[in-house]
C-alpha cells in the first residue's frame, strides 16, 4: 500500500496548539474534556485526528473554530495560534472575520449542516457577501465557478436547489465549496464522510485531496475510521479521553505503533479478508425466502403514485449455525428485507418459511406463536432498549410472553447476563447506566433469551466504535457456536461482512446483484457494483491488525474505478 510520505518540516506552520485545556463551563475543577493538547499543522499537510467516540476530536476542532457551545464548554488554558495570531480568547468579531477567510470547516452530516430553507447557491454566496465587497453578479459568478471546481453537475440548476433536493454527496460538495471559496489556509473536516456511502466517501476524499493540492490548504481531518486515515493522512494524532496519546507520520503509526492504545485500536480494525470457511451444514434450512417483494406507498386518493419498490424478488435460505450477510449502500433495500422477514412490515409478495411454516401472509394474531423463532438486534443501542425498564424486565419480556414463569425467566436472565459477559447484579439497572456496547450485549441477550432459530442483526455493530465492534462480533460468533442459531447479518460495511459471514448477498436499489459464498464474492466479485463497493473500501490494502499490508488483496481484475 502506498502512503503519503511528503515531508512538511519546512512548510509554513498554519496552526499551532499548545497545552490546550477545555473543560465544563464554570467548573474548573471538573475533569477536563481536553487536556494538554498539542498540535501542529503545516501548509499542504493533512493531519488526521483519530479516536473513538468521546475522545475529544470534535471538541478540538470546535475550539479552534471558536465555536464551543458557550454554556457547556470553555477553554481553560493553553493557546491556539493561527498563523502567528493568537486566537485562544479572540473577540467574537475577530473570530468571525477569520472564519471562512482563514479557517473553514466541513461537518459530518451534510444533511443537517446545510440550512434546509435556503438555496444552496445562496448559502455559498453568503460567504462572499459577508467577507468581500464583490457585486451581486461577481459573487454569483464566483460561486458558480467554485461549484464547478467541486465537480457539481449542472451548476445553474443546483445553484437554485434546496439541500433536500440534492444527494448526500452533492451536499457535501456544496459544503466543501462553501468552505474553500475564500481559499482558507486551514480546512477542518470533522468526519466529513462518515454519513456517506463508501462509493461517495471515496469521491469526497478524492475531492478534498484535489482541492488541497490545488490551493495548498492545510487539512485537519477528524475521523474514527482507520481505513480513511490510511488513505489520506500525512501525519496522525491518536486521541483518547481528551489527550493525544500518540503522534506520528502515517507509515510509522501503522507499521510500528508505540502506544498500547494505538495498537489496540489498530488490532480491532476488521479487514476485507473473508473468514475461514466453515464446514458446510447439512441440516434443514432454518429460513427459506422466495420471491420477496416489498413496495412502499402506491395508491393515493387523488393522485396515483407509483410507490417505491424497496425490494424485488429476493431469494435465499440459511441453514442452522450459518451466517448470511446482506450488504449494500443506503437505499439498497437490505433493511427492508430484514423487516419483512421479521414481519415488522408486511411484504407485498413472496414467501417466508420459518421452521417449516409460511409466515409472510399470516395475520398478527396467527403470527404470534412463530415470533419466538425469529429475533432481531437493531443498530442503535440507545434506542433498542426501553429506557424506563430495568434490564431484567427487558430480558424477561419475551419468555413471559411465551408462558415462562416469572421466576424461571429471572433465572434465565441472570444466565444470559453471564453469557454476554455482564455482571448478574446489573439486572436491576436501567439502560442509561450502560455504555453503547453493553447495551448492544443486552439487546443480544434479549434476543437469545427466546432461543430463536434465526437471529437478524440489522446493522448491529455499525454504531459502535471499532474496539467495541470487535467484541460484539466475537460475542455473536460465540452465540452462534453455542446455540447453532442461523444469522442474517445486515451491514453496509464489507469489512464487517467479511469477518462474520459465510455467504454474502449484495443488494443494489432493491435488487440482489450478487449472491454467493463470502470469500468468492469478496475476492472474485462478478458484478460491477460489488467490485465498486470493494474498491471503495478505504484502506483495503492494509492489514491493520497485523501492522502490515494485506497478504491477499482482493483481486480486482478489470476493475472500473
Amino acid at each position: 500500500m502506498e502512503f503519503k510520505s511528503k515531508d512538511f518540516t519546512d512548510s509554513r506552520r498554519v496552526l499551532k496548539i499548545r497545552k490546550l485545556k477545555v473543560g465544563l463551563t464554570g467548573r474548573p475543577n471538573a475533569a477536563p474534556v481536553l487536556n494538554e493538547i498539542d498540535l501542529d499543522i503545516r501548509a499542504g499537510e493533512t493531519h488526521c485526528l483519530v479516536g473513538e467516540s468521546g475522545s475529544g476530536k470534535s471538541v478540538t476542532s470546535l475550539a479552534v473554530m471558536g465555536l464551543l457551545p458557550k454554556d457547556a464548554l470553555e477553554i481553560q488554558g493553553g493557546l491556539i495560534d493561527l498563523e502567528g495570531v493568537e486566537i485562544t480568547y479572540a473577540k467574537p468579531s475577530v473570530m468571525r472575520a477569520l472564519r471562512a477567510r482563514r479557517i473553514a470547516m466541513i461537518f459530518q452530516e451534510p444533511m443537517t449542516a446545510l440550512n434546509p430553507v435556503l438555496r444552496v447557491g445562496e448559502q455559498i454566496e453568503e460567504v462572499l457577501n459577508m467577507h468581500t465587497d464583490l457585486s451581486q453578479a461577481e459573487a454569483k459568478k464566483r460561486t458558480l465557478d467554485m461549484m464547478e471546481q467541486v465537480h457539481l453537475p449542472d451548476v445553474d440548476r443546483i445553484y437554485q436547489a434546496f439541500p433536500h433536493q440534492l444527494s448526500g454527496g452533492q451536499r457535501q460538495r456544496i459544503m466543501i465549496a462553501m468552505a474553500l471559496i475564500l481559499d482558507p489556509d486551514l480546512l477542518i473536516a470533522d468526519e466529513p464522510t462518515t454519513a456517506l456511502d463508501v462509493t461517495t466517501q471515496l469521491q469526497i476524499l478524492r475531492l478534498i485531496a484535489e482541492m488541497q493540492e490545488r490551493h495548498g490548504t492545510a487539512v485537519l481531518f477528524i475521523t474514527h475510521d482507520m481505513g480513511v486515515v490510511a488513505e489520506i493522512a500525512d501525519t496522525v494524532s491518536v486521541m483518547q479521553k481528551g489527550r493525544i496519546v500518540e503522534r506520528a507520520p502515517i507509515r510509522d503509526l501503522l507499521t510500528n505503533p508505540q502506544e498500547d492504545y494505538t495498537k489496540k485500536l489498530l488490532m480491532a480494525v476488521p479487514n476485507l479478508a473473508p473468514r475461514a470457511a466453515r464446514a458446510p451444514a447439512t441440516a434443514k434450512d432454518v429460513i427459506i425466502v422466495k420471491g420477496l417483494d416489498m413496495t412502499y406507498g402506491g395508491g393515493g386518493f387523488l393522485r396515483r403514485s407509483e410507490g417505491v419498490k424497496a425490494a424485488r424478488d429476493v431469494n435465499f435460505t440459511i441453514k442452522p449455525g450459518r451466517t448470511l450477510g446482506i450488504v449494500g449502500e443506503s437505499g439498497s433495500g437490505k433493511s427492508t428485507v430484514a423487516r419483512c422477514i421479521m414481519r415488522l412490515i408486511d411484504p407485498t409478495a413472496g414467501k417466508v418459511s420459518v421452521a417449516g411454516t409460511e409466515i409472510a401472509q399470516l395475520s398478527r394474531r396467527q403470527l404470534q406463536p412463530y415470533r419466538k423463532h425469529l429475533q432481531i438486534v437493531f443498530q442503535d443501542p440507545y434506542r433498542s432498549l426501553n429506557p424506563r425498564w430495568t434490564v431484567a424486565r427487558s430480558l424477561c419480556e419475551g419468555p413471559i410472553n411465551f408462558g415462562t414463569s416469572k421466576e424461571e425467566a429471572m433465572d434465565k436472565a441472570a444466565e444470559l447476563m453471564e453469557l454476554v459477559d455482564l455482571p448478574r447484579d446489573a439486572l436491576d439497572r436501567y439502560p442509561h447506566q450502560f455504555s453503547g456496547g453493553q447495551r448492544q450485549r443486552i439487546a443480544i441477550a434479549r434476543a437469545v433469551a427466546m432461543k430463536p432459530d434465526l437471529l437478524v442483526a440489522d446493522e448491529a455493530v455499525s454504531a459502535l466504535d471499532v474496539s467495541v465492534q470487535a467484541q460484539v462480533l466475537d460475542l455473536l460468533d460465540d452465540i452462534q457456536d453455542k446455540f447453532g442459531v442461523a444469522m442474517l447479518f445486515i451491514t453496509h460495511d464489507l469489512r464487517v461482512a467479511a469477518q462474520i459471514c459465510d455467504e454474502v448477498l449484495v443488494m443494489q436499489k432493491g435488487l440482489v446483484v450478487e449472491h454467493g459464498p463470502a470469500d468468492e464474492v469478496l475476492s472474485n466479485p462478478r458484478h460491477d457494483y460489488t467490485r465498486t463497493l470493494i474498491e471503495a473500501a478505504p484502506g483495503r490494502h492494509w492489514d491493520f491488525a497485523n501492522f502490515r499490508a494485506m497478504e491477499r488483496v482482493p483481486a480486482l481484475k478489470g476493475a472500473t474505478a
Binding site: Q368, L374, D380, L422, P423, Q438
Partner: protein, 295 residues
C-alpha cells in the same frame, strides 16, 4: 469483565428512569420560588376554613363595599361579605377546577390518543372528531355547556375539558406515533408481546413527561377560563366563591374598589405564574433532547 457504574439505584433514579430525567439536572432558583409560592397558595386555600375570620357567604347589607379595616382586612364586597375570607376560600374551588380540568383532560385525552396513535383504523375518525372539537371556540362551547348543565362545578370542569381534550389527544398521538417507530417497540413486537401490552407498557409511559407539562398548562388555563366564564355569567354558582367569580362580581367596581379585582387577581396570577413556571421547568427537565445532550 466490563466496567459498569456500581451505584445502587435509589427511588430517585427509578423516577428519573421513568421520566427520562437526566441525572444531576440542575433546577434553578426561579422554579424553586415558584414551587414555594404555589405550595403556600395551595395550603392557604385548602386550609382557609380553619383561619378565615368570616364565613365567606355571610352578608351584611350595612357594611357593603367597605374599605380595608381591622375588621375586614381587604374590605368588603357589594354584599358586605369579607373580601379576605372570600379570596382565601376562593382558591379552593379555583384550584380544584384547575386540577380537575387538568386531570380529566389528560386522562380522557390519553385514552383516546393511545387508541388513535396505535390503531390506524380508528385514527382517521377520531382525529376528524378532535379537529371538529378544536374548531369550536372554547369559550362559546363552555358557555353553551354551562347553560346546558347549569353552572355547577362539574359542568365548568367539563366545559373547560372538552376543548382541551383534542390538544391532549394530538400530543399523545404524536408521541405514540414516534415512539411506535422506536426499535425497542419493534423488539417487543418481535418478542411476541401483545398489542395492548405494548400500548400500555411500552408506549404509554412515553406520554407521561409531555402530559405532565401539558397538564400544568391546562391547569393554569382552566383557572383563567373559569374567571372568563364568570365574567360572561357562565361560571360556577355565585354561592361558591372562586377567584374568577369574585373578580367577575367585582368588575363593575373596578374604579371605585379595585381591591375586589386586585386581590383575587393577584392570587390567580401568582398561582398561574407559578404553575406555568413549573411546567416550563418540567418541560426543560423532561425534554428527551436534554438527555441526549448529556448522555
Amino acid at each position: 469483565m466490563t466496567e459498569i457504574p456500581t451505584s445502587r439505584h435509589s427511588a430517585f433514579q427509578v423516577l428519573t428512569g421513568l421520566f427520562s430525567l437526566p441525572a444531576g439536572a440542575r433546577i434553578g432558583i426561579g422554579p424553586m420560588i415558584a414551587a414555594v409560592i404555589l405550595l403556600i397558595i395551595v395550603l392557604a386555600s385548602v386550609l382557609a376554613p380553619l383561619y378565615v375570620p368570616y364565613n365567606p357567604l355571610s352578608m351584611d347589607a350595612l357594611s357593603r363595599l367597605k374599605p380595608p379595616s381591622e375588621a375586614h382586612w381587604l374590605g368588603t364586597d357589594p354584599y358586605g361579605r369579607d373580601t379576605f375570607s372570600r379570596v382565601m376560600t376562593g382558591g379552593r374551588v379555583s384550584l380544584l377546577i384547575g386540577v380537575g380540568a387538568a386531570v380529566v383532560s389528560v386522562a380522557v385525552g390519553l385514552m383516546i390518543g393511545l387508541v388513535a396513535g396505535f390503531f390506524r383504523a380508528a385514527d382517521g375518525v377520531i382525529m376528524r372528531i378532535m379537529d371538529s372539537l378544536m374548531a369550536i371556540p372554547a369559550i362559546l362551547l363552555a358557555i353553551a355547556l354551562v347553560a346546558l348543565n347549569g353552572p355547577s362545578l362539574s359542568s365548568v370542569i367539563i366545559a373547560i375539558t372538552v376543548p382541551e381534550v383534542p390538544r391532549v389527544v394530538r400530543l399523545v398521538r404524536s408521541v405514540v406515533l414516534s415512539a411506535r417507530e422506536e426499535p425497542y417497540v419493534e423488539a417487543a413486537i418481535a418478542l411476541g408481546s401483545s398489542m395492548p401490552k405494548i400500548l400500555i407498557q411500552h408506549l404509554m409511559p412515553n406520554t407521561f413527561a409531555p402530559l405532565i407539562v401539558q397538564g400544568t398548562y391546562i391547569c393554569a388555563s382552566a383557572i383563567l377560563i373559569e374567571a372568563i366564564l364568570s365574567f360572561l355569567g357562565a361560571g360556577v354558582s355565585t354561592e361558591i366563591p372562586t377567584w374568577g367569580n369574585i373578580m367577575a362580581e367585582g368588575r363593575t367596581y373596578f374604579q371605585i374598589k379595585p381591591g375586589l379585582i386586585f386581590w383575587p387577581g393577584l392570587m390567580l396570577s401568582l398561582c398561574i405564574l407559578a404553575i406555568n413556571l413549573l411546567g416550563d421547568t418540567a418541560r426543560d427537565l423532561l425534554d428527551p433532547r436534554m438527555k441526549k445532550r448529556e448522555g
